[in-house]
Symmetry: C2
Subunit: 305 residues, 2 copies
């Protein structure tokens, strides 16, 4: 029942020996979803032992190099490893041309399918959905077209109590209805209610990734009450003018957003390479919002059931 985020890179702009630029893998019950894929991401996947052949969906926030320059290399490596599953890529429309132009120049004829999902809306959209999970875009305000992503478990079913099911001799075909909250119908069960046979559903967990962006409260309704918010903090607040002019945020601003959106916990990242330590980011944010962590490459954040 995992919902965990592995930080593959939390630096910005340029790779350094201290931090790789942005990439993360979100594992929701063995669905491996990658967010951004900076140069060097393949090595980070190896270093942090992420089962990267399980990645079937890659979400690219925007086309600054520190968020996608590792993508063509990863696509090529999947080919070399003999992948045969379709890989879904979601990103700004120019990315499709950029990928396929490079594959063409290298005369690489992939042994698997790449399905590109072009993002160009300025409104939040549902871009991925399966039986348990939804992914929505979070339009951000950056120098170029940029989206964050909201990963949200779907509403879950009530849980059957095996013991009570046995006790009341409930047949298998009635179980989907019970999970759905309905009362059992039939002779002998007249006085039995759904609550007598089931436990409440587990809550639906959620993770919002927001990088890169100017401080903007427009995202607050989209990320309201999420379990975990990752919000970029390229700068500390003494550089808030620089943050504004480069369409980035400070740690204090990230904490403001966390507070307004009433999230459970806040992750900070995307630090400018001028900062060697991330502890100042955490301290600055804590003055506004208590449950905060300034992430480092290799961190794994679990959202409990």
């Amino acid at each position: 029942m995992k919902f965990e985020i592995t930080i593959l890179g939390c630096g910005s702009a340029t790779p350094t020996l201290l931090r790789n630029p942005t990439s993360q893998v979100v594992n929701v019950m063995e669905r491996y979803l990658m967010i951004d894929c900076a140069e060097g991401t393949q090595l980070q996947l190896r270093k942090y032992k992420v089962a990267f052949q399980k990645i079937d969906h890659i979400f690219i926030s925007h086309l600054h190099g520190d968020h996608y320059l590792g993508l063509v290399g990863l696509i090529s490596s999947f080919h070399l490893f003999g992948r045969n599953k379709t890989l879904h890529i979601y990103g700004p429309s120019d990315l499709e041309r950029i990928i396929f132009d490079q594959l063409k120049a290298s005369k690489t004829f992939l042994c698997y399918q790449v399905e590109f999902h072009s993002l160009d809306s300025n409104k939040s959209e549902l871009i991925f959905e399966d039986s348990i999970l939804e992914v929505h875009t979070i339009p951000l305000k950056h120098r170029i077209y940029c989206n964050g992503f909201l990963f949200k478990e779907k509403k879950k079913e009530r849980r059957l109590s095996k013991e009570l099911i046995a006790k009341y001799n409930i047949p298998v075909e009635m179980m989907p209805k019970l999970k759905n909250g309905e009362d059992p119908i039939g002779k002998g069960w007249e006085d039995i209610k759904n609550q007598d046979l089931t436990l409440p559903a587990h809550r639906s967990r959620s993770y919002a990734f927001c990088s890169d962006t100017l401080y903007t409260e427009s995202i607050v309704p989209l990320i309201q009450n999420v379990d975990v918010l990752y919000h970029e903090s390229t700068f500390l607040n003494d550089m808030k003018d620089r943050a504004k002019s480069t369409f980035h945020s400070t740690a204090q601003q990230a904490a403001n957003i966390a507070l307004l959106a009433n999230v459970n916990s806040l992750l900070l990242g995307h630090y400018s390479a001028r900062y060697n330590s991330s502890i100042d980011f955490e301290n600055e944010a804590k003055e506004v919002f208590k449950n905060v962590k300034a992430v480092r490459d290799g961190d794994v954040i679990s959202i409990p059931i």
Copy 2:
């Protein structure tokens, strides 16, 4: 009077924790010339403390990802560091479009000039020349258009003997002619020959980089007698069929080329990721050609004066 080669990556195909894919920096008397620029090269430059802002020329052999996917990131980082010198890039013509398309998508307006030198000939060409150095292409046989590069010091001048110049009272304006091998002309110098005032010129050093290629003796005349030859050895000889079908070479084949071209020393690299150790490559080649080194990332090879 340095002529040294720093190996930034000697693996092939995909980055691993053991080896980065291909990149090298050749330093010829403080001219920093980069060959290939695989993903992760920026980090290798940092790791091995190469003064990478000094790089003014980048030579790309071909458009397989393991030879150029770090280039756009490096170009972007130069921009972030406020570079103002022109950067010269030499590579297959498609590369120009690939670079500028990505810069356009990220709305990056570089603060320095990139001058692209398109390579499309199948014959060896002089592609760079300054007062001391020449770079020529070495057409290779690979699945796609591919060049090696020959770095060759120009013929050097004779060296003045300070002691004798002083003894015979030779004026400054005569020195260029003496360096050029001419005898001194003028009253009092009738019996003095050039050899009385000068020492022989230092020899001209040379380095040939050949990766990726099928075994081909067509390159032998172009690399005859070089000081150092880097020749790819993707496979050991027990996989020579695989080498042939993928347009690569084995260690034994690389050694054959070294022998035929009468080079002074041979460097091996571009090992397939299936090999953990490079020592078997060295041993295999040594049976054919004695002066061989299987390189590792971070190796620095100096060519003495």
